[in-house]
C-alpha cells in the first residue's frame, strides 16, 4: 500500500493545487514542517489555556498568596510547603474541611456514577429490541442531558423548596411519607438532593453511550445464544455485558471524572455556600480561593486534587486494560 502511495505523495504542494511542478528541496521542508504548521495554533492555545496556567498554579501553591498580593502575586512571599501542610493537616481547620469535602465528593461520585450507569444501561437494554415509539422515546430521554447545566439545577432547586416545592408536595401531601415537610437544600438531606439532580442529568449520557455500544454487538451472538436455549437474563449476562466491556470502561471513567469535578450542579442548587454535607471538593477550593481569598491554599488543593485524579485514572486504566487482555 505504501509503495502504491509513494508517487502521489511526492507532489505535495501548497495550494493553489495546480499540478505540482518538479519537486524542489524547499517543498520537502514544507512537507515536513506542515504538521507543525497545522498544529501551531492548537499548541499556542494549549500553552495559553492549559500549560502556562498549570505551571503558574503549581508555582502559586508554594506562595503565601492572600488578598494583599493579588494585584502583584509574584511578589508574594514564598511559603515553602506550608500550603500543602495546611491542606493535609486533617486536624487543622483547612485540612479538616478539605478532607470532609473529599469524602463527600467520593460518596457523591460513587453513588451518582453507579446509579446513572445502572439506570442508563437498564434503559438501553430494555430498548434494544425495536418497538413502536422507540425512536421518539430515545430522543425524549436525552432531554435532561441536552439542558444547560444551570437550568436543570435551578429547576430542581425550585422543586426542592421546602414549603412550596413539588418534591414535598409529592412526598408529604400525596404519598404521606413524611409528617413534617423536610428541608432538602439544607442539612443532611442536601446530599440526596445533589445526588438526585446529578443522576437525573447524568443517566441519559450513560443511556446514549450504552445504546451505541449495543448496536455494535453482532446479532449472530444473540441468535447463537437463543439457539442454545439462553433466556433473556442469560443473554444479558453472557452476551450483552461482556460485549459492552470496552464501552463501559470508557463510560465509567468519563462519568467519574465529570461528577468528581462537578461544580455547576451544587453551585446552582445551593448558591454561594453549599451545606457541608453537599460541599464538593471543587466548591471547597472555590470557597478557599474566592471567598477566603487564599489563592495559595486553593492552588495547593488543586494540585493535590490533580495528583489524586492522575493516580486514580492511571491505576484504573492499567487494571481495566490488564483485565480486558486477560479475558482476551
Amino acid at each position: 500500500m505504501t509503495v502504491a502511495a509513494e508517487p502521489t505523495r511526492t507532489h505535495a504542494a501548497h495550494p493553489p493545487p495546480a499540478p505540482a511542478p518538479k519537486r524542489h528541496p524547499w517543498q520537502r521542508v514544507a512537507r515536513l514542517g506542515l504538521p507543525y504548521l497545522l498544529l501551531l495554533p492548537a499548541v499556542l492555545f494549549e500553552l495559553l489555556v492549559h500549560v502556562v496556567p498549570m505551571l503558574v498554579g503549581i508555582f502559586m501553591s508554594f506562595k503565601q498568596l492572600t488578598q494583599f498580593f493579588i494585584r502583584n502575586w509574584s511578589a508574594a512571599p514564598f511559603a515553602g510547603l506550608a500550603n500543602y501542610r495546611f491542606a493535609l493537616d486533617f486536624d487543622g481547620v483547612v485540612g479538616q474541611k478539605l478532607l470532609h469535602s473529599f469524602e463527600v465528593t467520593c460518596g457523591f461520585t460513587v453513588l451518582t456514577v453507579g446509579v446513572s450507569w445502572l439506570v442508563g444501561t437498564g434503559a438501553a437494554v430494555l430498548m434494544q429490541d425495536p418497538f413502536r415509539g422507540r425512536g421518539v422515546l430515545r430522543t425524549y430521554f436525552l432531554v435532561p442531558y441536552a439542558l444547560p447545566a444551570y437550568t436543570a439545577a435551578i429547576t430542581w432547586e425550585f422543586m426542592f423548596q421546602r414549603d412550596n416545592g413539588l418534591i414535598n408536595r409529592l412526598l408529604v401531601d400525596d404519598l404521606h411519607l413524611f409528617k413534617e415537610p423536610p428541608f432538602w437544600l439544607l442539612g443532611p438531606n442536601s446530599f440526596w438532593a445533589l445526588v438526585v439532580t446529578a443522576v437525573w442529568r447524568t443517566w441519559p449520557f450513560a443511556f446514549l453511550v450504552v445504546t451505541a455500544g449495543l448496536q455494535n454487538i453482532p446479532g449472530e451472538l444473540y441468535e447463537a445464544a437463543a439457539l442454545d436455549g439462553a433466556g433473556v437474563w442469560r443473554r444479558l449476562r453472557s452476551v450483552t455485558l461482556p460485549q459492552l466491556r470496552p464501552v463501559n470502561q470508557v463510560l465509567v471513567l468519563v462519568l467519574f471524572l465529570w461528577n468528581f469535578n462537578d461544580f455547576n450542579t451544587p453551585y446552582v442548587l445551593f448558591g454561594n455556600v453549599a451545606p457541608p454535607q453537599a460541599n464538593l471538593i471543587s466548591l471547597q477550593i472555590y470557597d478557599t480561593s474566592f471567598h477566603s481569598w487564599n489563592f495559595g491554599s486553593g492552588s495547593a488543593m488543586s494540585v493535590l486534587l490533580l495528583l489524586f485524579l492522575l493516580l486514580l485514572t492511571t491505576a484504573y486504566l492499567l487494571v481495566t486494560n490488564r483485565r480486558g487482555k486477560a479475558d482476551g
Partner: protein, 291 residues
C-alpha cells in the same frame, strides 16, 4: 440476505417473554415520568407570583403569560442572552477551526511529538476546571495591572477561559472522526493533483461535516451551561445567562415564575439543536469514546 429471509422461524426463541415486556413497560414509564416531572414544573412559568409562592399545584389556577413579558425587565435578560451568545459562539468558532487543523495533522501525519501532543490534549480533558480558573484569574489580573488591558471581566477573557474545555474536546473528537474517513479518499485527491491542504478542504472537510457539526454543537452546549468561569470572570456588563439568572432573587422575593420562564426560553434552542442533531451527535460521541 438469504439468512435474513430465513430468519423468522429462527427468531422465535429470541422473542422476549411477557415478563420482559412488562418489565420494559414499567421501567420505561417510570423513566418517562422522571424525565417529565421537571418539564412539567415549567408550568410554574405560567403562574402569577403569588401562586408560585403558594403550595405547589399541578394545574395552574390562574394561567398568565406575564412572567414571559416581565422576565425581560426584572433583570437585563436580553443583555445576558447576548453576552452568552457572543462568548459561546466565539469560543466554539475558535476551537473548531483550531481543532480541524490540529486533528488533520494528528490523524494524517506522522511526526515527532505527535504522541506528546495527543497525550496533553487527552489528559487536560480530565482536569477539573477549578485547576485552570485560579491561575487564569491571577494571570488576567496581572496583565491588567501591567498593560491596562482588562481581560478579567471582559468577553474576550471569558472566551479564552472557555477554550480550556472546548478545545481539548474538539481536538479529541475530530481526530476520532478524521480517523474514520478512509485514507483512500485523500490519496485519490492527491492523485487528482491536490496538495495536503487541498485534500483537507476538498475531501476531508466535506466528509467530516457531521463530525464538525457535532463538535460545534457540543462545544456550544457545554459553554452555554458553564457556571464556574462565568461566576468569576464576568462583571455586571458581561454577565452571562448562567450567572444572570441569579438576579431574579431580590431581597424580598424570588421571582420563581420568571426564572422558570427564562430557563425555558434559554433551554429550548439548545435542546432543540441537540435533539435535531442527535443522530450525528451519537455517532460522533461514540466514534470518539469507543476508540
Amino acid at each position: 440476505m438469504a439468512d435474513r429471509i430465513a430468519a423468522p422461524p429462527r427468531r422465535s426463541p429470541m422473542a422476549p417473554p411477557p415478563s420482559f415486556l412488562w418489565t420494559r413497560r414499567i421501567g420505561l414509564t417510570l423513566l418517562g415520568l422522571l424525565t417529565f416531572v421537571p418539564l412539567y414544573v415549567l408550568s410554574s412559568s405560567l403562574k402569577p407570583l403569588r401562586d408560585v409562592q403558594a403550595p405547589f399545584e399541578w394545574i395552574p389556577a390562574h394561567l398568565t403569560l406575564r412572567p414571559y413579558v416581565d422576565m425581560w425587565s426584572t433583570v437585563p435578560l436580553g443583555h445576558y442572552f447576548l453576552n452568552s451568545l457572543v462568548v459561546c459562539s466565539c469560543s466554539t468558532a475558535v476551537s473548531v477551526v483550531v481543532a480541524i487543523l490540529a486533528a488533520y495533522a494528528v490523524s494524517r501525519h506522522q511526526f515527532p511529538g505527535r504522541n506528546l501532543f495527543s497525550l496533553t490534549v487527552l489528559s487536560t480533558q480530565m482536569f477539573p476546571g477549578i485547576l485552570f480558573l485560579l491561575p487564569l484569574f491571577l494571570i488576567y489580573v496581572n496583565i491588567g495591572t501591567a498593560t491596562g488591558v482588562q481581560l478579567s471581566g471582559s468577553r474576550l477573557g471569558l472566551v479564552i477561559t472557555y477554550l480550556t474545555f472546548t478545545l481539548p474536546f474538539s481536538i479529541w473528537m475530530l481526530v476520532g472522526y478524521f480517523d474514520s474517513i478512509p485514507r483512500e479518499l485523500d490519496e485519490a485527491a492527491r492523485v487528482d493533483g491536490n496538495g495536503p491542504i487541498g485534500a483537507l478542504v476538498r475531501v476531508i472537510l466535506p466528509a467530516a461535516v457531521p463530525g464538525i457539526v457535532t463538535v460545534a454543537v457540543y462545544s456550544f452546549m457545554t459553554a452555554w451551561g458553564e457556571v464556574l468561569f462565568a461566576s468569576v470572570m464576568t462583571t455586571d456588563a458581561t454577565r452571562t445567562l448562567a450567572v444572570g439568572l441569579r438576579n431574579y432573587a431580590s431581597q424580598n422575593d424570588v421571582y420563581w415564575n420568571q426564572i422558570m420562564a427564562a430557563s425555558l426560553v434559554i433551554s429550548v434552542p439548545v435542546v432543540a439543536a441537540f435533539l435535531l442533531l442527535q443522530r450525528y451527535l451519537v455517532a460522533g460521541l461514540t466514534a470518539g469514546s469507543i476508540k
